[in-house]
Amino acid sequence: MKAKSLLSVLLLVLISTMAFANGQQEAAERELPAPPPFSSAASADDEGAVKPIKASEEPLKIAVLGLENNPFWIPVKEGAFKAAEELKSFNCTVEWIVPSGTSHGASVFGTAIESAMIQEYDAIATIAGDSGIVPYINKAVDAGIPVATFNSETDTENKRVFFVGADLYQQGQRAGQYMAEALGGQGKVGVITGFFSVEAHELRRLGFEDYLEENAPGIEIVDRVENQDQADIAYSLSQDMMTANTDLSAIYVTAGGPFGVAAAVEDAKKVGAVKIICYDFVDETMEYVQKGVITGTIGQGPFAQGHDPAVRLFNYIVAGEVPEAGRLLTEAAFVTKDNISKYWSK
């Protein structure tokens, strides 16, 4: 009996919240300019430094839906916090929200978009790892809440206003170019990818391999293996690759755990003989770059990924400013021992 009444009270609360939220959404609807073409791409001159244009008359709330399950997200979060600080005096609060769950997918972020709508955010920035998130994005935009995506997004066209992040295929091509330069166009390369089933990792792998096939026929890919983003598996795989190819000249890592490769190369006393090219600016990777074990690592502007969506959404709502392209591609900086001080300090 007690449980039953508790349940009915809960239900009542739920229904009234939903009704309330619905009413609020209609009230929040405002005239917004059309977004830029979905697939148009550009790199913004003010990447990571975009400023709010003018203060909002009514108080605004922007949600940034991110992840915190690995160190990659540290600068992303810093970016979001910086945006919050900047927008504070423009009558806007920015909140960094981490939905429970560790995947990039719609199961996690779709639900998070729905609850951000219920909480009456005026704009939402989200990670959009797979096409399952499309209906959620469209629902929010239809309700007058503009959505921006960052870090990863689906190719399936949807109503998001803009995307801030890397072009992963292009990153792969860059990696291929740097590899060809590092090896002087000759050698045997092993590829360690996170998961063959993750589109982002595949784009980086294919961009790399396509570039080499076209531009550096002297470089041979001897192996393609999966390390499930784990450093210890990367360590074993690297050992096996060096055993099977005594003349291996480099290892390319598309995703997580490059420091496992670095440790294996160091333990095998092949630093310099086996070059390593990988991604992102996490501390373990950067330490090996500084030591010269990792030849270079490619960035994707994580700070801008956390910072720019909130500020650009704000400008879009308040000043009607439309970003120059649907896809704002972040800088793919190549960090080596020589320029590391510009990007990282211990």
């Binding site: 979060k77 999966e226 499930q228 210890d232 074993s236 795989l237 099977a244 440790a263 501390d283 373990e284």
Partner: protein, 336 residues
């Protein structure tokens, strides 16, 4: 005259010993491993290089060590899905404590204590609260991974980050060598020998089998099956701590995703090695051979440049074949 008799008796014993060995499940699995190695020797000139053999042994050491505990759990008709997460959590706790300036030895001891504690919680959930092992450890799998993130948080703001492991003595546990032999391999071999002896020759060891073959009969004959179950889950938590520290030591870093998916490799190794998921059957020797088979297959695929999807398929096929062959072997036996 007397000599002749004793000789023929000895021969008989030898013959029966041989047939006994051939009948044992581990022998079949061991022959598969030998065959695999022979084939690999022909297929790749690098396979038998000592360096490669040591790499394989080192790569299997964490799986091998946890499979000791998992074998005992599976013998009691249980299962532990949380081992991978416990590897992550214990490694992270140890690294975090050291990072905060704790004496490395004490940090390692506390890392182990944490592993034992998580394992004991599994055991208590299963025996005292009567939650089926699959569900209890599924819950722990998530809780322990969450704890890993928790202990990884706060060093660089509020985001979980990998934690560097500075101490070389702890690093030695995972990345050290004695002569040409990687230290984790020695740890694995010692533990396997000790616990194989324990399982076959001690009262508690035999009681583990008793609980798995017929829990009710074991209870009636005075075996405290709850105590046995708590014991095996707790012990497994300790093996996970060992692996967690080895893994962190090898890379000088405790990674937030360390051990993810390990449970499947460990369960596969134990099952290939002859343990029955319905309990009462299994051996640590077998499980280690199972772990070796999987490690050789993984190594083979890189050495032979085979596409990764073939490896994934092959590992699955090996598990199924191992269990199928066991079913066929039992069919031929009287009374089964």
């Amino acid at each position: 005259m007397a000599d002749a008799v004793s000789v023929s008796k000895g021969q008989k014993e030898k013959a029966s010993l041989l047939s006994k060995i051939m009948k044992q499940r581990e022998t079949g699995v061991f022959l598969v491993l030998v065959l695999l190695c022979v084939v690999m020797g022909f297929a790749s000139p690098y396979f038998w290089k000592p360096q490669n053999i040591f790499n394989i042994l080192r790569n299997m050491s964490t799986i091998g060590i946890i499979s000791i505990g998992m074998t005992m759990i599976i013998i009691t008709a249980g299962i532990d899905l949380s081992v991978g997460s416990m590897v992550g959590a214990t490694g992270m706790v140890t690294a975090r404590l050291m990072y905060m300036g704790m004496n490395p030895l004490l940090a390692v001891v506390l890392g182990f204590a944490f592993g034992f504690f998580l394992g004991a919680v599994n055991g208590l959930m299963i025996t005292r609260v009567k939650i089926p092992p699959f569900i209890a450890t599924l819950g722990m799998m998530s809780v322990a991974r969450g704890l890993t993130y928790f202990f990884a948080t706060g060093i660089k703001g509020a985001v979980a980050s990998n934690i560097p492991l500075a101490n070389s003595a702890v690093g030695f546990m995972g990345g050290g060598y004695i002569g040409p032999i990687p230290f984790p391999v020695i740890e694995m071999v010692v533990l396997v020998l000790v616990f194989q002896w324990f399982l076959s020759n001690t009262v508690t060891g035999r009681q583990i089998y008793a609980v798995g073959s017929n829990a009710e009969a074991a209870r009636l004959s005075g075996v405290n099956s709850d105590r046995i179950q708590i014991f095996v889950y707790t012990l497994t938590g300790g093996f996970c701590a060992m692996s967690g520290i080895i893994s962190a030591g090898l890379l000088s870093t405790a990674a937030t995703n360390a051990g993810t998916g390990t449970e499947m490799d460990v369960i596969a190794a134990v099952v290939i090695g002859g343990a029955s998921l319905s309990g009462g059957e299994g051996s640590i020797r077998g499980a280690v051979v199972g772990a070796a088979i999987m490690a050789v297959i993984k190594n083979a695929f890189v050495l032979l440049h085979l596409p990764a999807f073939v490896q994934t398929i092959t590992l699955g096929v090996v598990v199924v074949l191992a269990v199928a062959s066991d079913g066929l072997r039992k069919k031929g036996q009287p009374g089964k």
